[in-house]
Amino acid sequence: MSQDYTRFTLSQRLQHIFMFVPFIILVLTGFPIKFPESEFWSVVMSAAGGIEKARIIHRFAAAVMILDFGFHILYLGYNLIKKRPSLAEMHLLPTGRDGKNIIENMKYFLFLSDERPKFHRFSYIEKFDYWAVFWGMFIMAGSGIVLWFPVLFSKYLPGIVIQIAYIAHSDEAMLALLAIIIWHFYNVHFNPRIWPANKVWYKGTLSEEEMEHEHPLELEEIKAREEASK
């Protein structure tokens, strides 16, 4: 009998939603300023109510995103201390197996092998996405807050920090947007093996078939644990 396996708890799914909704709003209200002559972003800017409203919306969305990220750090810390002993046990850290999986996957892609790598709870693709958010949040929130209060920060930091923040905010935004709409969307929507969408972000569960296909090692471990507890 096939059963569903919990992948993301309600809290985790909400954390993802409170990350990507502000992300979309931040892109829509920020890119019109990055590309001030683009017709496409002009339409977006008018829809957002003009630059003066867009600036306020941008800062509000940024605050929500930063709070969500802050919540995740506390959540992670709580889980590390209270529930599980280590990040490795949560399968979040890159390990030797990820290196092995990358080589196996390359062989598979190049028709040198017919076997897809067996992934555990998080594949190297998912680990990359997870830690990329940390890098992105560090750069975007850091530079964004400096640009929000330039006069205040210039009292404690050299003037060039404001200029660096301006470049970092603009360029890292581009990298983040490209990574999301090309890489993340391919892996969860446009990949023909996934198309039209991986529903796990709101359902929170994977079917046994999906588990066998995407996370066979985790499924094996769960089944072994179930056997042992019988």
């Binding site: 002559e37 003066e52 190049l110 006069v151 210039s154 009292k155 970092a168 890292e172 890489w183």
Partner: protein, 338 residues
């Protein structure tokens, strides 16, 4: 209460302008110069200059800033009728027969022409005649056109820039400045100021003859002020906010608004802009394009991000491409087997 002064000044200004609009504008031609100068074919043809029209379109003049100034107030060397073809060029520093609002003194543009004369745009004895002529004179920026303040939202938004420098001059001072600037080309909108300055400063061929950094306009457009202004955020600084309108001086001149000693005060703009800004923030060259010489840190940060983005996207694209290739290959092989 700068905002209140601004609002009051606009109200009073509207009354002044409405009165001005209803007054007959024909006074300017009290001496009937348009007897001849209204003729469409009035002009001369010379081998050197080609056709030159001397027609004064009555309607255009009667709606211009100078509609109440009679012709000979500026063309002072005309004393006979008919006058000779060659007359002296008009000097804007000449006092005219109108009085300043709320003052009894005669009006002239000497304050502006004096500032212009010693500015980077003024006459330089070390330059050739052609090089001096390539600099903007009064008329290059001020086209003496009339603008209807009552219906001009762009101008009203732009008025907030005036008080940044002219605060403390009182209500009469604000009205004087807003009313005098209202007729100038530079009073249209902030974005027009940038376009006006760019008409020379973004022209490589034109600027080549002067020892002026050519990246200034490009640098402004890359910077937040330039980008936000293009998107309609009128409160950001345009060229004149930092470089002043007539006293445009090199950063090396101690009297310059952008000299290291004064830049902090300029950025703060009477507390209208970056109030309490630090000297290091003010000193960061916001318009030059970073190079390995003038700003190596920024140069490498910028290239660092370009390389990081290109490398990351190249790897991610390759992964996607190979993944998709395997899926297509599998379908193709399954078909072949059948």
């Amino acid at each position: 209460m700068p905002a209140t002064i601004y609002r009051h000044s606009i109200l009073v200004l509207l009354l002044v302008m409405l009165t001005a609009l209803s007054a007959p504008a024909q006074q300017a031609d009290a001496e009937n110069c348009n007897l001849c100068h209204s003729l469409a074919m009035m002009g001369i043809a010379t081998p050197s200059e080609g056709l030159r029209s001397f027609e004064v379109t009555a309607n255009a003049y009667s709606h211009s800033t100078h509609r109440n100034v009679i012709c000979r107030d500026c063309h002072t060397d005309i004393n006979v009728f008919p006058h000779p073809v060659e007359v002296a060029k008009v000097e804007c520093s000449k006092a005219c027969h109108i009085t300043k609002p709320f003052a009894l003194t005669g009006y002239s543009h000497t304050e502006q022409t004096d500032a212009h004369a010693i500015s980077a745009h003024g006459f330089n004895s070390e330059y050739s005649v052609e090089k001096n002529q390539a600099k903007p004179d009064c008329k290059y920026c001020h086209s003496n056109t009339f603008r209807n303040v009552v219906n001009d939202e762009a101008l009203q938004e732009n008025s907030q820039h005036c008080v940044r420098c002219h605060e403390g001059e009182g209500l009469a001072g604000v009205i004087l400045h807003v009313s005098s600037h209202s007729g100038h080309r530079t009073a249209e909108a902030s974005i027009n100021v940038v376009e006006l300055c760019s008409s020379c400063h973004a022209d490589q061929g034109h600027m080549k003859q002067f020892d002026v950094n050519l990246t200034q306009v490009g640098g402004y457009e890359r910077h937040f002020h330039g980008k936000a202004l293009k998107r309609g955020l009128n409160e950001v600084a345009n060229c004149m906010d930092c470089h002043r309108n007539h006293l445009n001086l090199s950063a090396e001149d101690p009297n310059s608004s952008i000299h290291p000693n004064n830049i902090q005060q300029t950025c703060s703009a009477n507390s209208y802009c970056h109030s309490g800004v630090s000297s290091t923030f003010a000193a960061s060259a916001i318009h030059s394009e970073p190079t390995t010489q003038n700003n190596p840190i920024l140069f490498y940060v910028e290239w660092g991000f370009i390389i990081l983005t290109a490398a990351t996207m190249a790897l991610l694209f390759a992964h996607i491409f190979l993944d998709f290739g395997r899926w297509v290959g599998d379908i193709w092989m399954r078909r072949k087997e059948k």
